[in-house]
Symmetry: D2
Subunit: 342 residues, 4 copies
């Protein structure tokens, strides 16, 4: 049986990535693609790399007949997403890629995003979309909230450690190196090639990045008490990929074994042998996350590394993985392509 799929916000990078992935899915068909400002244009014009596909022309959301849609991906900007989803049919299955439904607490949402949430009931209904840790809830969900790409990377490195109590919860440092596509296809000076290539700089440092809201929510929930991490993202001159370098206190061997055991059997989470470190080069374009653990010369301190592709495992691949669960498909369907290297 082929599922009929709509993608709202198909003119951005995560939208295009969804199209790329779904094109390789055995049981999905894209029947509607929206892009408000580019409505009426062919996807081949907006994204020439998709030219070989037979795709619907971009349309406005209000032109879509949702009665024939089995599942809808929302790749819209934050804040827009909650408005749009509020107006969609109440029984429509939705995987949202925005930040709008990641935080369960309306107060936390307002604190990090600066505005009151306009769809609190939906916010309550939404399931947090970190697949490997919310599988059962996602299977039963109508509305799944995709995680932040940085938030996913950090959680893959840390969740089992927080749960198992094998690290000091009061001294966690996440230093992330992030490719530029995470910022979307937006026209900002700092995203120009001339400004970005051949160098590196931090951004949203000092405890200000919004993905901290997700870290706080999830780690505190796991620990049963407040956990607050330090988190500094950096922009590197690359289009895809996030590398998390996580500094923790704990026994490196125990930490490695905890991750290994937690992710045994996970199709996409690959824990490297002890002492080895991953590279974003080796996950590009794929749904895999590579994880590594190393000790330090100072006893009781360790580093956990995690690498994934922000557009795939960090957003659109995750979204498809969740859609597979919702629709009763194989969780890995359309997602087992090997990374592209070099």
């Amino acid at each position: 049986m082929t599922h009929r799929i709509a993608i709202l916000g198909a003119s951005g990078y995560t939208g295009a990535e969804l199209v790329r992935l779904i094109a390789g899915h055995p049981n999905m068909e894209i029947v509607a693609l929206s892009g408000e400002r580019k409505a009426g244009q062919a996807m081949a014009t907006v994204f020439p790399h998709l030219r070989h596909l037979n795709l619907p022309v971009l349309c406005r959301i209000d032109e879509i007949d949702f009665s024939g849609i089995d599942l809808c991906f929302c790749a819209l900007p934050h804040k827009t997403s909650q408005q749009v989803i509020s107006a969609l049919p109440r029984n429509l299955k939705i995987v949202d890629l925005s930040a709008d439904f990641r935080l369960r607490d309306p107060a936390e949402y307002e604190k990090w995003y600066g505005n009151a949430h306009s769809a609190v009931a939906l916010q309550e209904e939404a399931v947090y979309g970190l697949t490997e840790f919310y599988r059962d809830e996602i299977r039963a969900a109508r509305l799944v909230a995709g995680t932040g790409c940085n938030a996913a990377t950090g959680q893959y490195a840390l969740r089992p450690l927080v749960s198992a109590g094998v690290i000091d919860l009061d001294d966690i440092v996440l230093d992330l190196k992030c490719a530029v596509s995470g910022a979307g296809r937006s026209l900002k000076e700092n995203l120009l090639h001339a400004e970005l290539s051949e160098g590196c700089n931090p951004y949203a440092y000092g405890g200000t990045h919004r993905h901290l809201g997700e870290f706080d929510q999830e780690f505190s929930r796991l620990a049963g008490r407040p956990v607050r991490v330090r988190f500094t993202p950096h922009l590197i001159p690359a289009n895809r990929g996030i590398l998390a370098t996580v500094y923790v206190r704990g026994d490196a061997g125990v930490i490695h074994e905890t991750l290994r055991a937690a992710y045994e059997g996970e199709p996409f989470l690959q824990v490297l042998p002890f002492g080895e470190a991953p590279s974003t080069h080796h996950v590009r374009g794929s749904n895999f996350c590579h994880l590594g653990v190393a000790g330090d010369r100072i006893e009781g301190r360790a580093i956990v590394f995690a690498a994934l592709d922000n557009l795939t495992k960090g957003s659109s691949g995750q979204a498809l993985q969740n859609a597979n669960l919702i629709l009763g498909e194989e969780e890995t369907a359309g997602l087992m392509m090997a990374p592209l290297f070099p």
Copy 2:
């Protein structure tokens, strides 16, 4: 039915690309991978991006039992390839990715490669592997010679025009912009990031590049008289992709229509609307070739553009396409993945 596949020279980029592609093929299984200098190592060590696959350990060629192999890809260096293939079973189906069997004339081979050919009978037997133009011969072949990646790009731009006689055969200029993976995983100073990034330079210019042998052979054959093109490749700071800018004399509209008609129905060759130009960004990691034609303000002159991924359509994707034909599979099997952008 699953075909049992061996890849000789699996520790180079084209070998790894074959593994990537075959991993997504419905009816192929890799049963042997050779790498003389890395024999005994896991592929996950040599190419960590393939870590999720269950692959044979790298071995020496003399360790492989070819009796159980249905088809063998040879991704070995030039000159080595002819020696190795000479020693393989005579009935083994082979797709060679080296330059050893591209030129039919031993004298031409010696002229361009500097040494006498040591397997002239095989050279005679080999079919030139530019799939779209040698389909029937390839289907019936035992030994197929993969084309040069630059040679493929230039031929996609020009073959229908040479055949149709719509351009001046004595004034053809091919200016190519080539990504660095075409040079392989070799330790050369000019391939270092510090030497290559952020700049551009020509190489093997002035009528010296070996792929000229292929252009001469094929274009002269099509035209029924000697055709010699001018060809200058340039190294650009990118890992994958070749863009050919081909300057010809002829009517741009006729040229566009000739290409369009010639490639109608071809699954991988996409001719853009008249006046549009392709970009290597939009074919990365895929088996597609995008082609464009534009006129000039000077009447009777035109530009033909072709863009493909040198590791995919330019070598390993082409090789798999040919293997599909040899083995009676769908020609497109394992090759329809969308390009990776951005």
Copy 3:
């Protein structure tokens, strides 16, 4: 004696490059910097790499007292420049970096730029700023028009050959590989890192690029008859540098000797030994232009290569070189810094 300098349009890349160069000039002092939209901001905010310099705050043009200015650089957008310069004091020495005064013929200007020229008298007065070929006129000029960066590169490769009549004037192909800073600090989708890095594409092809107006004007003047070249620029993933690959008909040895003799004694134009080719890597950040000539296997055809930094020799370095002439300074003052490699 220290010359008092103003830079209009200091918030763009060519403006910033002027500041970088003038900071190393022994006899120039920057006394005014304009930037309409960033007026009131410190240069350290707009261009943090200039933070160590003691510079005037950005202001609006109408805030500048030009009576104390010895020379004014205009790094404003096309069309704006002619309006602004029209309003400046008639005796002010000006080096303009825009396209507004490059074409002598108002009809040609209108043809290429799409609007009638609003300052025809100034257009007549302006001297074309390709220093090595207009030295005497520049020394005596009040208003110098900086050349296009592509136009400069192509002319360095071709002018002596056109003058000497050693090439066929009816078959000249200029294929250029251009870094992205030539497009300025403008917010356009195709200039984003995610769209540009790791690939290559042509733009303004097919006889449409405005710098063709300069080629036509200059080559026709030299030849004493109309000369029209074919010219295709390509965007490469680099921030600085233009490589011109110029396909001509003529004797390669004669061509090399013609260039060598023409540029003997030129401080910035370096002709490589016969058969060698330049690279943009080796001129980055400098005012040098490296030139090379090679033959082809086809007799009577040759390639001329030219490489320069579009922001330095292609615009701001050229502008300073011209300013030196106007002000009676050493032509090379502030311009002899070595290229930055790697």
Copy 4:
């Protein structure tokens, strides 16, 4: 008075960078350049970007007459350097760029470098070359040991804080993002463009990087008790630049004020306003180091950022700064060029 300069190991990146800088120095003349494997070649062949300079041909060290040399830069590999310097005249002024004389304690040297030091007396004599903190000793020195480029970056961020006791010495994390030229012009697979571009990976992590020896020595000396930091370098796809992100415990405001006061009047160390962060883009090709301090949402924790160009301030620029002191020149002579951006 012009000082006569020799550079040993001029065929590497730090050697070439010294040539670039000295070419702009008012009172230095390069009279000898060594390169054992490239002896007999012109520098223009080995480094075409230096083609405009009139330089001595590369020679073997034993061909140099040191009697006419005022100061010798040694840009040789580790271990080779101590052997070569041992054989040089005892009164020759030397600035060494290798790791051989950075560590004062022979046992520490052996621990980090794996071999016994073969020139212990020289090791004792050598002054550690972090200019701003060893000015007086350097002025009086005969032999100065250039610091590691990572070691310099980390120390600029931390030394005043360790001295002032304003941070917790037992919880310091240095996360560095390092451009590839720090690894030299060596033919290693991981330095190839195809392996490095478009991604990021850690290396020498887990307390194994040799620059830890310098951190231990210097911070422990300042603190008067053992200090051991955590330090993880990462390779980013860039040619020049190091960004240090340093996680400390302490009051962010006090930390910022401590750095600001410490570096007031320093020509090359620029402390940004509180809350701002530097970028490697803005120091490229220059001798400047930009520093920034930000607080965290968690009280008592702060981040210190430092950015410099590893080839300039991190090695060859530092070396020239030290040579200026030794020779009685202005400390900033030849070093005030602005960064190259973009």
